[in-house]
Amino acid sequence: MTMGLTVAQKILGRVVGRQVEPGERVEVVPDSLLANEMLGMVIVPKVDQIGAKQIDREIARRTMCFMDHGGVGATPLYVGIHQSMRAFCQTHDIDIEEVGAGICHLLFAEKGGALPGGFVLGTDSHTVNAGAYNTLASAGGASEILKLMVTGSCHYTVPHTVRIELTGSLPQWVYSKDLILYLIGEHRARFAGGRAMEYTGEGVGCMSVTARATASNMAVEAGAVAGIFPCDEILREHVEARFPQAEHHWEGVASDPDATYADRIDVDLSSLEPIVACPHAPENIRPVREVDAEVDQVFIGSCTNAKYEDLEIVAKILNGRKVRPLTIVVPGTHGIYRECVRNGLLEVFLEAGCRVMEPGCHACFGGPGGLLGPGQRAASTTNRNFIGRMGGDTSTEVFLMSPALAAATAAAGKIAHPDDLPATKPTVDLAARSQLRIMEQR
């Protein structure tokens, strides 16, 4: 009798060429490799240290490199790291995006790096973001990726899978960010030790692909090595509209009905409420209305929540309102930025008094742009609120939340629910702007 297989087992089975079992350490060649500044900071120096002048040609072909952490000419050291990355990519014929083009995980998806059934490795922990595309995507350490680049293969442990059965649909003002914060806060221990999350059930259907990516992105904060969504009609349409030429070798992969899971969690999406993760860990969750805190800064950005639909929610809430604390908006990619300009979102942000910065990571990880000082408190749509993560010391506090709550907080000056804001009249006709856009396209 053969047991059914999980998505992770099926994808790795294809990669390895035989059936694999959870816990097994297998030699792999990923379908694509995501690299960011970790390449310039750690890998390139180590390549020089071992004296390698060549890297594996096939891996070079499958690699996409991004410069998102250092900012555009922000510090002399980052400028140097970017120079070394450009030189490395030129020598080894690797695809590289310029600084300011966007955050690696969002650009990687925009460029078709994540396709259904694919196996992706990356130098960054949030490589798991690509799980929304029915991809098994995980982070590797720099040396493991170095080994991959030099020898053409590396090792990966087949994960056990925790099944997350979603029913119902998300209520108003509740998003995939709230779902993942809930899972982190309530069930974190279940994902420990290298397990993968697999979202399934009819509830998946209420989330767009980019909304799903938020729930995949923070799988790593839940302790998981991957956060995989199924390949349904929504994903198929999304991929076909953007990558009609893509090599759809694998069509999308689903778990067998009798697949063996390490654990199972049932979530009724309609029972969720807007959540805030309090300092200093993503698992410190509280319902938004139980948090009473004034903030010095609001940061709306990051691979977790700087997608177009996130910024659309922010613009709807800020339209006709003024922000009170310093509010920073960072569109996730250059393409998203352009959409914001074309559809009037940028006008809303500027009228509201937001500072809009070029696409990139910025303060999300404590990089240049938007850092906090000692004693400052921030509301942020990012994924980590560890001590000093956005600059500052133990006296600095970061509250994680959805873009809707961040926008409401920006307008109120303290952590707030959008329904609790005083009523206002929009000043920019966003609907007309996107209407205009549709007519232009015709």
Binding site: R25, E37, M38, M41, V42, P45, K46, Q49, I50, G51, A52, K53, Q54, I55, H69, G70, T75, L77, Y78, I81, T123, D124, S125, A139, G140, G141, A142, S143, E144, L146, K147, V150, T151, T157, A192, G193, G194, G223, V225, A281, F365, G366, G367, L371, R384, F386, I387, G388, R389, G391, D393, T394
Partner: protein, 184 residues
């Protein structure tokens, strides 16, 4: 070169649960590629005297709680701890990526259930990685650890992955530039 893995000695510096990679090396320092500089900043946010303490002790063994090394996949974390003089880490559990990174950079790590309540700050420990056991000489007590897979032991004995890769590139002629385009 094979180093003995059976007798790693050191004084314990104890840490709690969930020590994350931003605790180990704050991200604002990631732009510095000099590991010996990063070493001076290790644990800066949560234990500002860490580097000086390790120097004064002439090396140490870290005892951690659950999920040691959670957070980002940055290899600078084990790299800078090793450079600071940390000889080994034992913990209740590790984040898988941190565990792999540590092995790859040649910093021995071992899961020792119960270690965070058994071993105290300032204890002198001897950790035997080959047999997966931690021992305290003072009272001759010991705690068994989870045995390390053979490929990890081999990697740490060799001093990490770089040594192995150095051999590989020489063997495969990858220490020479690519042949000029068009030439055979």
């Amino acid at each position: 070169m094979t180093e003995p893995m059976n007798e790693i000695r050191g004084t314990v510096l104890a840490f709690g649960d969930g020590i994350n990679t931003d605790d180990i090396i704050p991200s604002n320092y990631l732009q510095y590629t000099d590991v010996s500089f990063l070493a001076t900043k290790a644990m800066e946010k949560i234990r500002p005297t860490f580097y000086d303490e390790v120097q004064a002790l002439g090396g140490c063994i870290i005892v951690g709680g659950t999920e040691f090394g959670t957070g980002s996949s940055r290899e600078q974390a084990p790299d800078c701890l090793k450079a600071a003089g940390v000889r080994a880490i034992i913990a209740e559990s590790f984040r898988p990526t941190f565990f792999e990174n540590s092995c790859n950079v040649g910093l021995p790590v071992l899961v020792v259930p119960g270690c965070s309540t058994w071993a105290k700050e300032g204890d002198e420990l001897i950790v035997d990685f080959e047999r997966a056991v931690a021992r305290r000489e003072a009272d001759d007590s010991s705690r068994p650890g989870q045995p390390l897979p053979e490929h990890y032991l081999e990697l740490v004995r060799q001093g990490g992955l770089l040594a192995a890769l150095r051999d590989y590139i020489v063997e495969h002629g990858m220490d020479r530039p690519y042949p000029a385009r068009g030439s055979a």
